[in-house]
Amino acid sequence: MEGHSHGFGLASPSWRANLDVVVTVLIARLKVISRYKGSLVMEMFLPVVFAAMPILLGVAVGGANAGQYFQANTGTSNFKLYMLIGACTFSVVSIMLWLVGYWIRREQETGTLESIYLAPARQVYVLTGVTIYSLLRALLAFLVSLVIGSIVFGVNLLEGNVLGAIGILMLGLLPLWGLSMLFGAFIMRVKEANSVINVMTWVVSFLMGVFFPIAMFPPLLQWVAAIFPPTIMNDAMRASMLNLSTFFGSWYISLAVMFAAALTVPLVGYGVFTFTGRSVRRKEGVGQY
């Protein structure tokens, strides 16, 4: 074995070495998912299926007047696009929670977490690779589902401000990442992670008002939902694409809340996540599953 690059010194890597970690983690994950093509395809169609159910439910309830009644309750008669946006946005939230929040657990399940912790690469760079990968998957799923859904339901995506909606989505991803970290910290503590995730997924979709405006909630629940970053994101995206007003009434307030969330939630989330990781390491070690 040649004596090049012994362990000594690699504890203080250069920015190139750290970037190499990020890129390698990203590429490895892309390779893995490329070998699960069926899952990728399912991810594209799932939002369309989810949107189909309330659409059909609505048609059953409202009949020929479904659009009219929907407009009276929400401000728009385009209930198909309304549901589709909600379902696609929810898929982004769900993918981020699963891929980012659950990544430690998944590494535990596959038995690779200890190997990752044994390496000197800082967790933040591994996490960055995982995050970029998750973002790419989430955005791909969002865009493709939106297009497929528009074809299936016969809605015109370009009626509203699509670019504005995408901009809101990008801004909303930051607090979403922070939430995923909080989620991940919780999962590290709780052994029965799968059932927790399943119910959390529905809690999130409920609070987001995926299929209805949160104005329909009782007042207290409205405000709880309103400060939940994915809710604001969903609400603002629908407002952008359907020319609706936001929950807060004015654009500026919605944006301000989103910016505040983008600044604070990631920091809090990451802090809690690393604290929990250290605590778990102290008590039982990282490999325990």
């Binding site: 690059s5 362990g7 690699l10 504890a11 190499d20 690779t112 044994l118 250290r278 039982e284």
Partner: protein, 346 residues
């Protein structure tokens, strides 16, 4: 020679909930490591020997920063495991017991590339090194297949390659031959010796005493979280020089074993079950040659059938038996009888 690993009074306590039928769950404290202290020199193969549950893996995890100790200190390559974790990790290559640390949907090569990046090994160097490791470990035939298609032995070989990817000065191997067949295990031990000769310090845990005897410059024997003996294999065996070991195969009823225990000069008696309902009895005694007739009489007068009798030179397992009164096999297979007044002490 300076120490490359130094451990000072390292302890680790776990809390777990004990669940017994009909009772409320109780909090149970398990002390997995108790004030463990030792040093490993550069260029040494240091063995950690002990039965399942002795604390070997807990100790390894503390040294590799996977687990934070409850108290005590340790330094790896001069870096503290408590405060300089990144430097410790950069100084070691590690293969944990039953290592499942490979991604199924990646090939062996892709796995090695991935983990090489986590060790900050430059890309060009990684590529070269993976090829060399593939040659060294004879994994070229399958390294470009996804891990999900590997047998358990193949996975272990790639996991071993993973521990070498960063060419660290210290190698920590936790029961690396456990799922390998005999020829592959032998080959791996040869490679371990070559790696040591090339300048690596190796911490090698095993519960197979012949591995420890073959490979290790020094051996620490662990039991119940403590080091109960430490030295070179020959030093440890010589410590039994005053004691003789007699191995008998046959059928030994309980009263026969009790009778042997009562023979003056017998210090330890341990029984191992074998196939076909037969047992093997290990009798450690002082000057076994003189008391052999009494031992045989005690056995045969109490219904024992002796099929084979073998006086033997002491092995590390005998050292373990002398210290603990038990064999290195898993507890459920042991049938042990101890002399109360002299059993278990170092």
């Amino acid at each position: 020679m300076s120490s490359i690993i130094k451990v000072e009074k390292l302890s680790k306590t776990f809390e777990s909930k004990e669940r017994k039928k009909g009772q409320r769950r109780k909090l149970k404290t398990v002390q997995a490591l108790k004030d463990v202290s030792f040093e490993i020199d550069e260029n040494e193969i240091f063995g950690l020997l002990g039965p399942n549950g002795a604390g070997k893996t807990t100790l390894i995890k503390c040294l590799t920063t996977l687990l934070l100790p409850s108290s005590g200190k340790a330094w790896v390559n001069g870096y503290s495991v408590l405060d300089e974790e990144d430097s410790v990790r950069a100084s070691i290559g590690c293969m944990l017991m039953g290592d499942r640390g490979l991604y199924w949907k990646l090939t062996g090569r892709e796995n090695l590339d991935y983990f090489g990046a986590l060790y900050h090994v430059p890309k060009a160097v990684r590529r070269d090194r993976i090829d060399k490791l593939a040659d060294l470990l004879h994994v070229k035939d399958f390294i470009d297949r996804t891990v999900e298609t590997y047998s358990s032995g193949q996975k272990m070989l790639v996991a071993f390659a993973k521990s070498l990817i960063n060419d660290a000065p210290i190698l920590i191997l936790d029961e690396p031959t456990v799922t390998l067949d005999v020829p592959t295990a032998r080959e791996l031990r040869t490679i371990v010796k070559e790696l040591n000769e090339s300048g690596k310090a190796i911490l090698y845990t095993t519960h197979l005493m012949h591995e420890a005897e073959e490979l290790c410059n020094r051996v620490a024997i662990m039991d119940h979280g403590e080091i109960i003996a430490l030295g070179t294999p020959s030093e440890l065996k010589t410590s039994l020089a005053l004691d003789d070991t007699l191995d008998l195969d046959g059928v030994f009823p309980a009263k026969a074993v009790e009778a042997v225990r009562a023979v003056g000069g017998v210090t330890q008696v341990a029984m191992k079950s074998k196939n076909g309902g037969k047992t093997s009895l290990s009798i450690i005694s002082r000057s076994g040659g003189t008391i052999l007739p009494q031992i045989i009489e005690a056995l045969t007068h109490n219904g024992a059938t002796i099929e084979q009798l073998r006086p033997k030179t002491a092995t590390l397992e005998d050292v373990f038996i002398a210290k603990t009164g038990r064999t290195l096999d898993v507890d459920t297979r042991q049938i042990v009888v101890q002399r109360g007044e002299s059993g278990g002490g170092p």
